[in-house]
Point group: C2
Chain length 158, copies 2
């Protein structure tokens, strides 16, 4: 999902998941673009290293500042942006380390939904016009049914 | 998630899930508003009944028309709107029955993300200013940390 809304890659806290890695490889192979994932053991260390190398950090939490109030500031950043998404009990260090604690509505909701809206807002909806390079297949939008264009017949179809 | 982005309720295809029902009851009890769920066995029959009673149906699928092209038409509907979200293999009858087959980007992505963006677009982002009635608790947005206001001390806190 992060790929389709403009993220370049994802760090995932936890042990390696070859099934997930394979699934992303298949999506990128067929649908194009690039998207990396990296499994990490210490996400808080990543946040600190990211900041010390000059990057900015946004932490998505329903307790944070409303996205409508800070989206312009985030969208205008020149620095690389790391978006942190946790579960229900995120340690306080993430709140204090983040440059932005961002709420996508101050209501309970799914982290996936929050990330989609966040990426939509800070990219100003740019994903709606994205064309992924090196795609094998592409959808032609249709009112009813499915219309898929095969772009590279030398490669194996999906 | 659907609740926080403006949906009134959800039909869920499958057998009853008391844990889910309890979870939604707790969210509505604490955070206010109203949101119903109903478990159904035959979602295609629901689609047909919905249409025959005058409602409109939007089916979210990456093969559909791009949301940017049809959001205004959907947003201006007077009729009640049923949004259909399926898994990977949705039978063709849903495509043919739907008034709108809608793609949130013609790329693979999560259904939860698609629903969030769909509701955002067709409500013109109204969820950002929603206040839920009868809430026990409310978040005061903060730059760091958590600030929760207890609205009704007579009720049990969360």
């Amino acid at each position: 999902m992060a790929r389709s809304f403009g993220a370049e890659g994802a760090y995932i806290a936890g042990s390696k998941d070859d099934a997930l890695r394979g699934s992303i490889k298949r999506v990128v192979g067929s649908w194009g673009g690039s998207f990396w994932i990296e499994f990490i053991n210490n996400p808080l260390r990543l946040v600190k290293e990211w900041k010390s190398s000059g990057g900015k950090v946004a932490h998505l939490t329903m307790y944070g500042m409303q996205i409508m109030c800070i989206k312009d500031e985030i969208a205008s950043l020149d620095e690389d942006l790391l978006v942190v998404i946790g579960g229900e009990k995120v340690p306080f260090e993430y709140y204090s380390s983040a440059d932005f604690n961002v709420a996508i509505g101050n209501q309970p909701h799914s982290e996936v939904a929050a990330l989609a809206i966040f990426l939509d807002r800070v990219t100003c909806g740019r994903w709606e016009n994205t064309h992924f390079k090196n795609a094998q297949i592409r959808i032609i939008p249709s009112e009813k049914g499915k219309n898929v264009e095969q772009l590279d017949l030398k490669k194996k179809p999906f």
